[in-house]
Amino acid sequence: MTPVIDIRDMHVRFGEVEAVAGIDLAADSGRATALLGRNGAGKSTTMKVLAGVVPPTSGVVLVAGHDVAADPLSVKRAVGYCPDVGGLVPRATPWEHLQLTARLRRMPEWEARGRDLLERFELGDVAHRVVGGFSHGMGRRLSVVLAALHEPHVLLLDEPFDGVDPIGVEATLEVVADARARGACILLSTHLRDLALEACGSAIVLRGGSSVAEMDAAELTSEAYRALLD
C-alpha cells in the first residue's frame, strides 16, 4: 500500500543554499510521526513542500496520492497546515480566518466545529478580534485550529507547541489524537522531544537537510536523540 506521505530523494534549493538534500520519508494513515532535528535541519522546508507551498527542486513527493509538483491544489485540499512562524493574516480575526478556510474548502456546515475548536483552544472570547494583537502562543493555538478545522487527511503541524501554555499543549495533543483516531496521517515537527514522544508513535530525525534515523518514538531516548543531532 502506498504511504499517505511518500517522499523520495527530495531536494529543495533556494539559490545557492540547499535546504533539503535528498530526503526519503514515508508516513502512513492513522499514525503520528514526529519530525525532529536541529535548527536548519530541513524540517520546516519539508513541511512547506508537503503543504504545497514550496515546490521541490527535484525528487518525488506524493501527498494523499497527489504529486505536489504536478497538482498542488489537490494536495492543499488534503492537507491541514500549521506553519512554523506566524501563519496568520495580521488584520483579520480568527473567525474571518475560519470563514475563509471553510469557504475555500467547500465546508457549508463549519460554524459549530469552528466554535468548538476555538473554545477548546480558549480562543472563543477573541474570535472577533484582529490577530495582530495576539500573543505568540495565541497565534500558535489559532494556527492549529485552522489546520484542524476541516479534519484533513494529512495534518502538518510545524512547531505547534512553541510558546504555547499547558492548556494549549493539551488541546493540541487532543487534536493529534482525534486525527489519528479518524485515520489521518500526522506529521509533527518540534524541538521538544518529550512532547513529540507523547504525541507521536514514530520519529524521524533530520540532520543537514537529510534524514538520518527513523524509529519508534519509544526508542528515542534523550541520549540517542542527542547522539543523532551531533
Binding site: 491544489l73 492543499k76 506566524g86 495580521p90 480575526t93 475555500l104 474548502r105 484582529v130 495582530g132 494583537g133
Partner: protein
C-alpha cells in the same frame, strides 16, 4: 544627568549609526546611488534652467508669480498632512526591530526629519517651488532666491514634523482620536464653507508666505535667509518636545483596532466574479482599512489634494495631473509590495486550496479600488469648483484617469511579484518597502504618471475628440501586457514560493 547638548550629540550619533545600518541593507546599492545622483541632478537643473527660459507669455509668468505664496504655504500644509498621516514621521527601523535597541525620541525625531524627503509629495512640491522661483526671478538674484526657498522647504518640513508629533501626541491621549478627527473635519468644513461663500479666492494675498514670495530675487535675501535659519534651528529643537511626549504614550488608534471587536459578516453569496474572489477581496479590504497607517494615508491622499483643488481653484489642466499623483501616492501605501498585506500569514494563505490566479486577481482588484477612490476625490472636488468641463477636457480626463490607474496598478503588481519585502504595517510610521526602495518607487511612479498626465493635458487643449482616446490605447495595451506578465510570474510555483517565504519572514 546628561546635559541638553549631550542628548542632541548622542541622538545625532545614534542617527548616524542607524542610517549606516539601513544603508548596508540596501539590496541594490549601485541603483540607489544612481537614483540619488539623478535626483540631485534633476533638482539642480530645475533650480537653475528655468531662469534662462524665454518665450513664456507674460500673463502666464504673472500667474505663476501670483500662485507662489499659495505654493509655499501648500508645501507646509501638505507636510503637516503627511506627518499627521504617518503617525508623526517615518521610522528609522521597523518597530519590532527597534524595540531591542535604546533608541531615544530625539533620535526618532531626527530620523523622521531626515526621512521626510523620501516622499513623493515632498519631492514634487520642492521641485515645483524651485522651478517656479527660477522662472519668476530669472538669472539676476537666483542664488539668493533659491537659498531662501531651500531654507523655507527645510523650515516647513521641521515645522510640519513638530505639528505631526503634536497631533500624534493628542491622538494618543484619552479622547485624542475623537478630538483630532473632529478638528480635521471642522477644518475641512470651514474650507468648504469658505469656498462656497467665495471667501477663498483672495486667500493667497493674505497668506504669511506672500511676504516670503515677495522677497525672492530682491536684495533682502540675506536677512530673510538668516531669519529662516533661526526658525529652522528653533523648529528642529522644539520638535523634539512633542516627539518625546507622543512617543511616551501608547498608540491608542492601533490598540483600538487590535482590541476592538470586528464581527464577521456572513459568507458572501454567489456574485459576478464568484464567492471565493468576493471573500478574498473582503479579507484584503479588511487588511487595508483596518491598518491605521493605510486608512489615514488614503484619506489624506484623497482629501488633501481635494481641499487644494477646492481652495486654490486649480484649472482643469492641473487637475488632469492629479489622478496620476493620487494613484501613485495610494500605491506607495501598500501596492508596491501588495503581498505585505498578508504579513506572516502569507504561508497559511498559500496553503489554502484556491487557484493562484484568484489570489492575484483579488489583490489586484483591491489595490485598484484604492487607486480609483483616491484619484477620484480631487477630480470631483475640482469639478465642484470649476463646474463641468468641456467635452474635450472631459474625454481627456476620463481616459487619463483610466490610463494612470491601470499604469500604476501594472507597475505596482509587477514590483510586488519581483521585489517582495517582509514588512509589518502595524505602525502608521511603517512603509511597505525599505526607504531607499520607496524613494525609487516614488520617483518612478511620479515621473511616469506626470509625463502621462502632461500628454493628456496637451490632448485636452486640442479640439480633436478622438485624440485622448488615441493616446490612451497604447498606454492601456502596454500596462495590460505588464499586468499579464506580473500575473504569469505569480502563477509560477517557484516564484510564488519565493514571495511567500520572503513576505512571511517578517
Amino acid at each position: 544627568m546628561r546635559s541638553w547638548t549631550d542628548r542632541w550629540v548622542s541622538a545625532a550619533a545614534d542617527l548616524g549609526h542607524l542610517l549606516r545600518f539601513r544603508s548596508q541593507t540596501v539590496r541594490r546599492p549601485r541603483a540607489a546611488a544612481l537614483a540619488l545622483a539623478s535626483v540631485l541632478a534633476v533638482t539642480l537643473v530645475l533650480a537653475v534652467a528655468p531662469a534662462w527660459t524665454t518665450g513664456i507669455p507674460a500673463d502666464r509668468l504673472r500667474l505663476i508669480e501670483d500662485l507662489l505664496p499659495a505654493a509655499l504655504a501648500g508645501f507646509l500644509l501638505l507636510g503637516i498632512g503627511a506627518s499627521m498621516g504617518g503617525g508623526g514621521g517615518r521610522e528609522l527601523l521597523p518597530r519590532e526591530q527597534a524595540a531591542i535597541h535604546p533608541i531615544g525620541p530625539v533620535t526618532e525625531h531626527l530620523g523622521a526629519l531626515v526621512l521626510a524627503p523620501l516622499n513623493l509629495a515632498w519631492l514634487l512640491q520642492a521641485w515645483t517651488l524651485l522651478a517656479a522661483t527660477a522662472l519668476v526671478v530669472g538669472p539676476q538674484g537666483l542664488v539668493g532666491a533659491q537659498l531662501v526657498v531651500v531654507l523655507w522647504v527645510l523650515v516647513a518640513t521641521a515645522v510640519a514634523q513638530a505639528v505631526g508629533w503634536s497631533v500624534e501626541g493628542i491622538r494618543r491621549t484619552r479622547h485624542g482620536v475623537v478630538i483630532v478627527r473632529a478638528a480635521t473635519v471642522a477644518l475641512a468644513m470651514s474650507l468648504l464653507a469658505g469656498q462656497v461663500g467665495g471667501k477663498l479666492d483672495d486667500l493667497a494675498d493674505v497668506l504669511p508666505t506672500a511676504a516670503l514670495a515677495e522677497s525672492l530675487g530682491g536684495g533682502r535675501w540675506p536677512a530673510v535667509a538668516a531669519l529662516l535659519t533661526a526658525l529652522l534651528v528653533a523648529a528642529v529643537t522644539l520638535g523634539a518636545v512633542p516627539a518625546r511626549w507622543a512617543l511616551r504614550k501608547p498608540p491608542r488608534d492601533e490598540l483600538r483596532v487590535e482590541s476592538g471587536v470586528h464581527e464577521a459578516r456572513p459568507t458572501p453569496v454567489a456574485r459576478f466574479l464568484g464567492e471565493d474572489l468576493a471573500l478574498l477581496r473582503r479579507l484584503d479590504r479588511g487588511s487595508v482599512w483596518r491598518s491605521v497607517g493605510m486608512r489615514r494615508g488614503l484619506i489624506v491622499l484623497g482629501l488633501g489634494p481635494a481641499l487644494v483643488a477646492l481652495g486654490a481653484g486649480l484649472p482643469w489642466d492641473t487637475l488632469l495631473i492629479l489622478p496620476g499623483l493620487g494613484a501613485s501616492g495610494a500605491a506607495l501605501l501598500f501596492g508596491v509590495n501588495a503581498w505585505c498585506l498578508d504579513g506572516r500569514g502569507m504561508l497559511w494563505r498559500e496553503s489554502l486550496p484556491v487557484a493562484p490566479a484568484r489570489i492575484f486577481d483579488a489583490r489586484a482588484l483591491v489595490t485598484a479600488e484604492c487607486l480609483v477612490v483616491v484619484s477620484a476625490i480631487p477630480v470631483l472636488a475640482g469639478s465642484v469648483r470649476n463646474g463641468l468641463p468641456t467635452q474635450q477636457v472631459a474625454i481627456a480626463l476620463m481616459v487619463c484617469w483610466l490610463v494612470v490607474v491601470v499604469q500604476v496598478l501594472a507597475i505596482s503588481m509587477s514590483w510586488s511579484v519581483r521585489r517582495p519585502y517582509a514588512v509589518d504595517l502595524r505602525s502608521p510610521r511603517a512603509t511597505p518597502a525599505p526607504h531607499a526602495a520607496m524613494f525609487g518607487y516614488a520617483l518612478k511612479l511620479s515621473m511616469v504618471t506626470t509625463v502621462t498626465g502632461m500628454l493628456f493635458v496637451g490632448a485636452a487643449g486640442v479640439d480633436v475628440w478622438w485624440l485622448p482616446l488615441a493616446f490612451g490605447v497604447p498606454f492601456l495595451l502596454w500596462s495590460g501586457v505588464r499586468l499579464i506578465r506580473a500575473r504569469r510570474r505569480w502563477l509560477a510555483a517557484p516564484a510564488r514560493a519565493e514571495i511567500a517565504l520572503t513576505v512571511a519572514a517578517g
